[in-house]
């Protein structure tokens, strides 16, 4: 596979992977936060779905 536009090293672009990690970490923590603050009734109702057919 031919590549023409090589980056010479990671320096200067390292911010992008860090940014990606921060974005995911943020979204993930937000998901955890929300999951723990969902109403118990809703959770119970949803967890019973396989039993209702």
């Amino acid at each position: 596979m031919k590549f023409i536009n090589y980056l010479e090293s990671i320096s200067g672009v390292a911010v992008y992977p860090f940014l990606a990690m921060i974005i995911f970490g943020g979204v993930f923590l937000f998901a955890v936060w929300n999951v723990f603050f969902t109403r118990k009734d809703t959770i119970n109702e949803q967890s019973r779905l396989p039993l209702e057919d």
Binding site: Y6, S9, Y16, A20, F24, P50
Partner: protein, 724 residues
């Protein structure tokens, strides 16, 4: 509230078809595995016949159990649970049929082509390009059918099992497409688009995530549906299942490089693989605990209910395998376990325990229900459970032991500083362990036969309900929201958003590991003396790939004293820049071949000739198969120039002149090897056709003699410089 009750029918026929296919291919795949296991004890069972040789049988076994047995198991579970969770019949019966028969066609084509040696040489992705396209088409059909069903559903909330199905679909599509980039040369021959280190990274990103998104996430979906069904109680924590889902799919995708520790892959990528593998322990065990705790307060039922027994052992095996996986990703542990039978033990705890037992549990639960009867014999099912469990233990324990023994024997030095054992010593030492492993496999397979008998009896006694009547209120067009709503509720109702977010979560890891490896020059330092293969060597390499030599031989010397002493200088990334596909291997049943053509490993052409005719003639006690067909069939020179041209397209610097004269160049080099063999003719084990420069064995010898020799040139240059 919508009171408009709708009547409809669930399609059980498609579930039945996938269930039959699961059982059938399970038996076929496991018989292939048992034969492969026995070949390592009794090499005569290779039958000196190309199609039944270990190198071709092993991919047949792995493909059959993964894509045929587990694949059909996934579709069986999905088609049953999706309809009920969505309160809707499958979107289209025709698409269901196309999906079923398309998948079976892929399996049959896979079995035939692999037996014929048509392979890409990339583990678990061996199928050639026309079959790859067929897989893509059938997968799209499955996707349309699944999303169509979700869209016409009568239940607003998408239960967590369905998220796992959606993530499976999108990730498998991504993995399959990216890893299958290959340049076709003929109808059943192609070269990987990637080379060397890059090919290795893409391949193990795929390989690891085939485990994650084919053997794990769909089965977790099945677990989240069928364990509550079998136990008749909701999952322990639905909250935990949401976190389990997002954490698992995000983290899993990064872990691929742990298959390449201590190799020529850049260190930063190896470290990322390790870090994410350790993190993976949390969601994996979260899922396992969630599955097991679903049975809280109902453990007494596990004693009587064989379905629950299978499921409990399956989830426990999942827990064990996902604890072991992160441990094996630690570099210090991996230094011992990698390339040994330890890995084989690890994957079989997952495959036999998690996938096998969960499939059996689901089959025992589904068949009596769909045939409206009771299981024919609970006693026989219990026997299956115990013999299967015993089979797993008898399989795994000797393999763990073998792996440890193998590794320590490879690494042991005498007080004088010499390697204590020849490689062959480890092979002969391990044969009793291999025999025990085969016994474990036989026990497991016996259990499967018991299950088949039991299920056939059940089916005969019952009456099949092809269409199961159901009713549910139609889904209101407008969502009524009472009070404050959390954002995740919004995604849970939207399958397409769920698909996109899943794709984003799984794409991040792959992108961040692959793009730098492809684009940053310093990751793949080039070596001036590394030159492209000659025409004859390229043909020899294709034979090496065709015969599946990589299933037993690695081409990757790790930077350990025990390896550099045995095989020569450690492998460098720059050595593999022309290797489409890479052939690093993942298991050393035989020795590493990266420097087979140089240094202390260099052998005469006649040694290779005799060794491939009858390995025991050169290495008494060897368990390598004989390759008599290489001594009678001719090299297919008509495609040589085409192959060189394809390599040129992929960036290998052949001149146009060399490509055009490929055949002549090949014949010239073949004559040199032929002449060298001719000198030793008296000592050769000649085949019935005698010695010929046209035979495939000549090309294979040329390739083996080339391995590692480029670096020898570099070394000589360095020593000349230092002398000056």
């Amino acid at each position: 509230m919508n009171t408009n009750i709708e009547r409809f029918e669930y399609d059980n026929k498609i579930v039945k078809q996938f269930a039959y296919a699961t059982a059938l291919w399970g038996v076929v795949g496991m018989i292939a595995g048992l034969l492969a296991a026995l070949q390592l004890v009794y090499p005569a069972l290779n039958f000196d016949f190309s199609m039944t040789t270990f190198g071709r049988l092993r991919p047949i076994h792995t493909n059959a159990v993964i894509f045929a047995f587990v694949g059909n198991g996934i579709f069986m579970g999905v088609y049953y649970s999706l309809q009920r969770l969505m309160k809707a019949r499958m979107f289209s019966d025709t698409l269901s049929k196309i999906h079923f028969w398309g998948w079976q066609l892929i399996i049959v084509l896979a079995a035939i082509t692999l037996a014929l040696g048509m392979t890409t040489g990339k583990e678990y992705a061996e199928l050639e390009w026309p079959i790859d396209i067929l897989i893509t088409l059938v997968w799209v059909v499955f996707g349309i059918n699944m999303f169509g069903t979700i869209i016409k559903r009568r239940e607003r909330h998408l239960y967590v099992a369905i998220w796992f199905y959606i993530a499976t679909w999108v990730t498998v599509a991504m993995l399959h497409i990216v890893n299958s980039f290959e340049l076709p040369v003929t109808l059943f021959k192609s070269y990987s688009w990637y080379a060397g280190v890059q090919d290795a990274l893409v391949q193990w990103w795929y390989g690891h995530n085939a485990v994650a998104f084919f053997l794990t996430t769909p089965y977790l979906g099945i677990m989240y549906y069928f364990i509550p069904k079998a136990a008749n109680r909701p999952v322990y924590s639905y909250r935990l299942s949401i976190i389990h889902f997002w954490a698992l799919i995000f983290i899993y995708i990064w872990a691929g490089p742990h298959h390449l520790l201590y190799t020529s892959l850049p260190d930063w990528a190896q470290s990322l693989g390790t870090v994410f593998s350790i993190m993976l322990l949390a969601p994996s065990w979260g899922g396992m605990i969630n599955g097991l705790l679903t049975l809280r307060g109902a453990w007494d039922r596990v004693r009587d209910d064989v379905v629950l027994k299978f499921m409990v052992v399956a989830v426990t095996a999942y827990g064990m395998a996902t604890f072991e996986g992160p441990m094996l990703s630690l570099k210090s542990v991996n230094a011992i376990s990698h390339f040994t039978d330890w890995t084989i033990a690890h994957v079989h705890v997952g495959a036999l325990g998690w996938n096998g037992f969960l499939t059996f549990g689901v089959l025992y639960w589904l068949i009596p229900r769909m045939w409206q009867t009771k299981l024919a014999s609970k006693k026989l099912a219990n026997w299956h459970f115990w013999i299967g469990t015993l089979g797993i233990i008898v399989y795994a324990v000797p393999m763990y032991w073998a792996g440890w023994v193998q590794s320590t024997m490879w690494k042991e030095f005498t007080p004088e500083g010499q390697l204590k054992y020849q490689f062959l010593d480890t092979v002969t030492h391990l044969r009793p362990f291999y025999a025990l492993r085969a016994l474990g496999g036989l026990l497991f397979l016996t259990g499967v036969f018991m299950m088949v008998i039991n299920l056939v009896k059940t089916i005969k006694a019952g009456s099949f309900m092809a269409n199961e009547a159901a009713e549910a209120p139609a889904l209101a067009k407008k969502v009524e929201i009472h009070g404050k709503e959390h954002w995740h509720r919004w995604i849970e109702r939207k399958p397409i958003q769920m698909l996109i977010l899943s794709l984003v979560a799984v794409a991040i890891g792959g992108i961040l590991e692959m793009i730098p490896t492809f684009l940053i020059k310093e990751n793949i330092p080039t070596i001036e003396s590394v030159k492209p293969y000659t025409a004859l060597e390229l043909e020899g390499r294709d034979i090496y790939v065709r015969e599946g030599c990589y299933t037993c031989h690695s081409q990757m010397i790790r930077p350990f004293r025990s390896e550099t002493e045995r095989y020569g200088d450690y492998s460098k990334a720059g050595e593999f820049v022309y290797d489409h596909p890479f052939q690093w291997g993942s298991k050393r049943t035989g020795p590493d071949l990266a420097r087979e053509g140089t240094g202390r490993n260099k052998k005469m052409d006649s040694w290779h000739y005799n060794h491939l005719a009858d390995p025991t003639s050169m290495s008494p006690g060897s368990i390598m198969p004989k390759y008599p067909w290489l001594f009678t069939s001719d090299i297919k020179v008509e495609n040589t120039s085409k192959k060189l041209a394809a390599m040129q397209t992929l960036g290998v610097p052949y001149t146009d002149e060399y490509v055009a004269n490929g055949r002549d160049e090949l014949e010239k080099q073949a004559m040199v090897i032929y002449e060298s063999l001719k000198k030793d003719e008296a000592g050769l084990l000649l085949g019935e056709d005698g010695l010929s420069p046209n035979h495939e064995i000549i090309a294979l010898i040329a390739y083996l003699q080339r391995l590692g020799s480029d670096l020898e040139v570099e070394k000589n240059k360095e020593s000349n410089l230092s002398q000056k």
